[in-house]
């Protein structure tokens, strides 16, 4: 992921797509032993970094023992995101995303990655409150306001 993360970050920083407002991820990943909730959280962190914002509300849908998890998130600046992570014993991972700015867009078609491609996550830490919000939303089956789980002061 590092190459994608950095490339998109540079495009955003250059200002060529305006202010990022929406991110859509649909990813298929070969299971690595990491729990699917942790993988989802990683992608939400990437999304938040691109949007330069923190979520105010997260809604997560995941059936127990299912290999897919989907989260929608709304951010402090009104930005939105939908992230779907799917685990599958396939030959190669796939990352399909769309990032809309208010003056342009960045797309990455989710074609099969080259053999040996590794989802090498960038060193962005998953904050505890985000994991807490994900778990609470799953448990409650409804959106969770971040204010419910964290005191930013």
């Amino acid at each position: 992921m590092q190459f994608l993360y950095q490339t998109v970050k540079e495009i955003i920083d250059a200002g060529s797509v305006g202010t990022p407002v929406f991110v859509r991820f649909v990813v298929q990943i070969i299971p690595s032993g990491e729990h699917i909730l942790d993988t989802l959280a990683r992608f939400l962190v990437i999304t938040g970094s691109w949007l330069a914002s923190i979520p105010i509300r997260v809604y997560v849908q995941h059936k127990e023992n299912s290999a897919q998890i989907t989260a929608s998130a709304e951010y402090t600046g009104g930005q939105t995101a939908i992230v779907s992570v799917n685990l599958a014993d396939v030959v190669s991972s796939r990352i399909d995303f769309m990032m809309l700015g208010n003056k342009g867009a960045v797309y990455h078609d989710g074609g099969v990655m080259p053999p040996g491609f590794d989802i090498d996550y960038e060193p962005l830490e998953v904050p505890e409150w985000l994991m807490d919000a994900i778990e609470r939303s799953l448990f409650a089956g409804k959106p969770v306001s971040i204010e419910e789980v964290v005191d930013f002061e």
């Binding site: 929406f22 939105t80 799917n86 809309l100």
Partner: protein
């Protein structure tokens, strides 16, 4: 009937509606004959003038009284493109007159209006169809993938259909939009409620591909791109997260994102997640990409009567984008109307009848309710 004489088609509303497209569909089917353009007698002077101009350009008579037009024996089908706020009422009247209905999408602006259309269609025993994308080859392929089992059991579906039109402006960003839970006004010259106007395609595809009922809806609407939408307090972008029966998860994104945000008409993708595999269907695949020394594409000149580029009639001189050229296989029903005529002739219900159209309306209205309250909304919703 078509073996002896063509189906007579009455057009309700004309220029600057989707009638500009649908009338071409009817003209392309030799089983149909356009009869006249009509509308309600008390439409605004602007609408009446646009209807008259359309009739003139199509070389059709204009009948300014819908009742009078519906009384004609040579009218078998009505193509209803009245503005959203009038659409349900007009559709009910046409069904009660015993005419088959071809309906613009979304087919009504409230669930109660949509219910009334379904009741009228069923009572009159007429056929109905709401315009959709279900006959596009990429959508047909997605449906086949579900039915064939190639993805295993379907567990999630994600659909993005966004239109790359309009001139993005410096609409202020920085805070979430406040959504009216029960929006009632949908018609503006310079903007549309885009969750509804473009989201209806994705909602319809999710329902048609899965064949599953939507049980819950969680939505958000936003203003990201256009001052016109902000000025009219309508969203230019929206997302929905849904749960369907059997636990299937569905998400959509919908909106208008500006002329220069996509190499073609806008992103159009369906991702099917199954227990065996994930397959993505892209409206632009297969395609070839063409890059030349020709002058790069530029958006059409801004037309104050249609700044978002809604209508064909205002974009006649616009140059099409040419770098992506799709190569879709030919199919029998690339013309949505021809499928509808087949349904009438074979006495089969359309796969996207008024009933399915009403289900689309209910999901969209649930989306607004959810966006306003920040909560998950269970269907059915109150019949307002």
């Amino acid at each position: 009937m078509s073996k002896f004489q063509p189906y007579g088609v009455l057009l309700v509303a004309g220029m600057m509606t989707h009638q500009e497209n649908y009338s071409d569909f009817f003209l392309a089917d030799p089983r149909c004959k356009l009869i006249a353009v009509t509308d309600e007698p008390d439409v605004t002077p602007r609408r009446a003038e646009l209807d008259r101009r359309f009739a003139f350009e199509m070389n059709l008579p204009y009948i300014p009284d819908l009742d009078e037009a519906l009384a004609r024996d040579d009218v078998d089908i009505v193509s209803v493109c009245a503005e959203h706020e009038r659409r349900g009422r007009v559709a009910v009247k046409c069904a009660n007159a015993g005419k088959h209905l071809y309906l613009d999408k979304p087919m009504a602006c409230s669930v109660s209006d949509a219910d009334a259309v379904v009741t009228a269609v069923e009572s009159a025993g007429v056929k109905s169809q709401v315009y959709s994308m279900v006959h596009s080859s990429w959508v047909q392929s997605a449906k086949q993938a579900v039915e064939s089992g190639v993805i295993g059991e379907l567990i999630a579906i994600h659909c993005d259909i966004l239109f790359a039109k309009g001139y993005t402006s410096d609409a202020p960003l920085g805070k979430p939009r406040k959504q009216d839970p029960y929006p009632k006004q949908f018609t503006f010259i310079d903007s549309k409620r885009e969750l509804r106007a473009t989201g209806v395609y994705s909602v319809g595809l999710v329902q048609w591909i899965t064949g599953a009922e939507v049980e819950t809806v969680f939505g958000a609407t936003e203003n990201y791109f256009f001052g016109e939408h902000l000025h009219n307090d309508v969203e230019d972008f929206g997302i929905l997260t849904m749960t369907l029966e059997n636990g299937i998860v569905a998400t959509i994104s919908a909106g208008r994102i500006g002329y220069t945000s996509h190499p073609s008409s806008g992103p159009m993708k369906i991702h099917l997640v199954g227990t065996k595999n994930l397959i993505t269907f892209n409206a632009y695949n297969p395609r070839v990409e063409v890059y030349t020394s020709e002058t790069p594409w530029t958006p059409p000149k801004l037309n104050p009567d249609d700044p978002m580029g809604f209508w064909n009639s205002t974009s006649k001189n616009a140059k099409p984008k040419k770098s992506w050229v799709t190569a879709n296989p030919s199919q029998r029903h690339t013309n949505d109307v021809s499928y509808f005529i087949d349904c009438i002739e074979s006495n089969h219900k359309s796969e996207v009848s008024a009933k399915e159209g009403a289900a689309q309306v209910e999901v969209l209205m649930a989306g607004y309710l959810s966006a306003a309250t920040g909560s998950v909304v269970s269907l059915p919703i109150p019949r307002l």
